[in-house]
């Protein structure tokens, strides 16, 4: 099987709030650190991908943010412009009358147009060999299947025309597991795990994209070994709590309470992790990223996550 970063195009998705953008940012950073010329692209207009590199917001035109790492923000209208320039050798869209204005409308009316302009641009970058690796901070789990299946859907809806001739090579690249892969990001919590398991099934049934990995983010550290846990329980006896509080010069109960919370959270999450591992087939690698108890989410945090991913990938 092809290792994660040896693929050329990685889509990163996940339920809201699980850290999809963090993982996409870190994977791209890791790729660049490995000497790959890397493009990272945010698809969501309201995204904050640039924050993870502590740089100003990305635009459609890519910009180098770290050595070998380029960032861009998807803009379907500009993507259409570029496409028309390349394919039809048309000068600028402004010259074809109401096309630019009508675009938004047609895109709303005809399902898949926006999606195919997004996916099309990214696959094009890969085909043209401008980058060794393209990492996409893609749409959330609810919409990713629609995005990845767009070329197929368009292929079925549109029987002739230029678009039809374009979707064929796109489907080839998207369907090649050595080239393209999907990463699902989840946290070990109930709903993200449920959504991940559902998504795995839908991706298999409705798209031809290979599942490259599931990244489990925010895994909590194990506090105690078995005998230490017994020791902790013992220390919770009122007499010892009193004695410890006297020795420490203050009430130890809140500190113990926090530990108990950490232990229970860890246990609940471990249960969801087991459910996830049992619920998806064993050929899909699971990568674990620990919870970052950090103050901010800037470049430093992105580097830490990239390091965790590197050790999970044995690089």
């Amino acid at each position: 099987m092809t290792s994660l970063l040896d693929r050329r195009l990685l889509f990163v998705t996940g339920k809201g709030g699980v850290g999809k953008t963090t993982i996409a940012a870190a994977l791209a950073l890791l790729g660049a650190q490995q000497g790959k010329r890397t493009l990272v692209c945010e698809v969501d207009a309201k995204g904050n991908l640039a924050d993870f590199y502590e740089t100003k917001p990305f635009r459609f035109k890519e910009r180098e943010v770290e050595p070998g790492l380029f960032g861009m923000a998807m803009d379907t209208e500009e993507s259409l412009n570029e496409y028309l320039k390349l394919q039809l050798r048309l000068p600028v869209v402004a010259r074809v009358g109401p096309l630019a204005k009508a675009f938004e409308f047609v895109a709303t009316a005809a399902p898949g147009v926006k999606e195919i302009l997004t996916v099309g641009k990214l696959v094009y970058e890969v085909r043209e060999n401008k980058y060794d690796l393209v990492v996409v901070d893609a749409v959330a789990t609810g919409h990713i299947v629609g995005q990845l299946a767009a070329p197929q859907a368009i292929n079925e809806l549109v029987q002739v025309g230029l678009v039809r001739s374009q979707t064929d090579w796109m489907l080839d690249l998207l369907g090649d597991p050595r080239t393209t892969g999907l990463c699902i990001v989840a946290t070990p919590e109930e709903m993200p795990v449920n959504e991940t398991m559902e998504l795995v099934g839908r991706v298999r049934e409705e798209t031809n994209v290979d599942l490259a990995a599931i990244v489990v983010n925010r895994v909590l550290p194990e506090l105690f070994g078995r005998s230490e846990e017994a020791c902790f329980e013992h220390l919770n006896e009122p007499l010892l709590v009193g004695a410890l509080s006297d020795a420490a010069g203050g009430n130890v109960e809140p500190v113990f309470d926090a530990a108990r919370l950490a232990v229970t959270l860890r246990r609940t999450r471990a249960g969801h992790l087991e459910r996830l591992r049992a619920g998806v087939d064993a050929s899909i690698p699971l990568l674990y990223v620990p919870e970052l108890f950090s103050r901010t989410h800037g470049l430093r945090a992105t580097r830490q996550v990239a390091d965790s991913l590197a050790s999970e990938l044995d690089i």
Partner: protein, 395 residues
């Protein structure tokens, strides 16, 4: 009442608690970004209202969480409302004063119902339902999901069957999308662009201005596909009047004094930012903001000064503290290891609690009701769990 124009917030609107909010409103809409516990909070609020306030309370959800159905003692629920059985309340140890009902939005079914209501005759209904583009629009098109949720809410509200409806909103990328959905839908069907688009189906004579557009569109998409689109919109246009009228009514209901919003968030940066943006949008669009619910808040003792001093000492001198307990307490080395680990964990979580505390302070405007829900250390499996959460936001 409806008809008095868009109502402004007055000082007398001040509502102190979630209890009084749910007691005085007919519709409470739960909104926020994904993963913050919106659905669970909506269900908990509805359950509390059914138990303590009485009347008929409906929770309308868009999230097909099987666990929620189980928690409500239902086998599952769909577009048609189902009553939460009394046994579910009984096993939670309460006797509700009222009734709790639940329904889940089925986008496709709701769209079909809409078409059947507005289409001029059965022939048009059949043609629309059979159109391949309709299948796509009704099933996948995200904005249609937003619209249909509000449309379905209007539908249920006008039946007058419920005293209170708590609505969970669709997981949109942009939480305000669904607020604008009715207006956008109306605009969509009245657009001049729509006429451009549908022109070729009516006549092949295209004027000078639009000709290049069709040439390009033809080359990109192919004529047949364009014709499919055109046919679909021509069919939809027959429903135009009914549709627009309905959209306006939905919009009006959302602005009504009887409707209020409950914004749900955690104290993490991204959802909180989204919540703030949503709150300011609600204000500027003249919607009523009833409450802010902050979920998964870490316990306050993590910020306690004396507890911090203890944790720091424990981290620095675990061995001394362990030996102070005497030999009867157990192996001093193991105790020291445990104390060290416990202290580390406290201080790690404190970093997060501090960050979240700062973010909370930065909230510029907050509604009258701000409810804080502590980090529950286990998942909610049943009605008792929902009510436990509900207790946290009630007063």
């Amino acid at each position: 009442m409806a008809g008095s124009g868009s109502p402004k917030r007055r000082a007398t609107d001040a509502i102190g608690t979630m209890e009084s909010l749910l007691a005085t409103k007919e519709i409470v809409i739960s909104a926020g970004s994904g993963g913050v516990g919106k659905t669970t909070t909506a269900a908990a609020a509805a359950a509390m209202a059914a138990v303590h306030l009485g009347g008929r309370v409906l929770v309308l959800t868009v999230d097909p969480a099987r666990r929620l159905a189980n928690a409500l003692g239902l086998e599952g629920f769909g577009n048609i409302e189902k009553r939460v059985p009394d046994e579910a309340f009984k096993s939670a140890g309460v006797t509700p004063r009222g009734e709790m009902w639940a329904a889940m939005l089925d986008t496709k079914q709701s769209w079909d119902a809409l078409v059947m209501r507005h289409a001029p005759n059965e022939d048009v209904v059949n043609q629309i339902l059979a159109n391949p583009l309709y299948q796509n629009v009704a099933g996948r098109f995200v904005q249609s999901h937003d619209y249909i949720a509000m449309e379905r809410l209007y539908d249920i509200h006008t039946t007058g069957n419920y005293d209170l409806i708590v609505v969970d909103t669709p997981p949109t990328r942009n939480a305000i999308d669904f607020l604008e959905a009715p207006e956008r839908m109306a605009d969509f069907f009245s657009s001049r662009l729509l006429r451009w688009l549908t022109a070729p189906a009516r006549s092949r004579v295209v004027n000078f201005a639009t000709k290049p557009f069709y040439q390009v569109a033809d080359r990109i998409l192919g004529t047949r596909f364009l014709d499919d689109i055109a046919q679909f919109f021509l069919l939809f246009q027959t429903m135009y009047d009914g549709f627009v009228e309905r959209s306006r009514a939905v919009e009006h209901l959302l602005h009504d004094r009887r409707t209020s919003f409950m914004v749900v968030s955690t104290l993490e940066a991204a959802p909180l930012h989204e919540a703030e943006f949503f709150i300011s949008t609600l204000r500027s669009m003249d919607f009523q903001l009833g409450a802010l619910v902050l979920n998964k808040v870490l316990p306050a003792y993590l910020l306690d000064g004396s507890a911090t001093a203890v944790a720091q000492r424990m981290q620095r001198e675990p061995g001394e503290l362990a030996s102070a307990l005497g030999p009867d307490a157990g192996d001093p080395q193991e105790i020291a290891r445990v104390l060290r680990e416990v202290a580390d964990s406290f201080l790690r979580f404190q970093v997060v609690a501090k960050r979240e505390g700062e973010q909370r302070k930065e909230l510029a405007t907050v509604p009258d009701v701000v409810a804080t829900v502590p980090y529950f250390d286990s998942d909610i499996y049943d009605l008792a769990g929902l009510l436990r959460l509900g207790e946290q936001i009630w007063r």
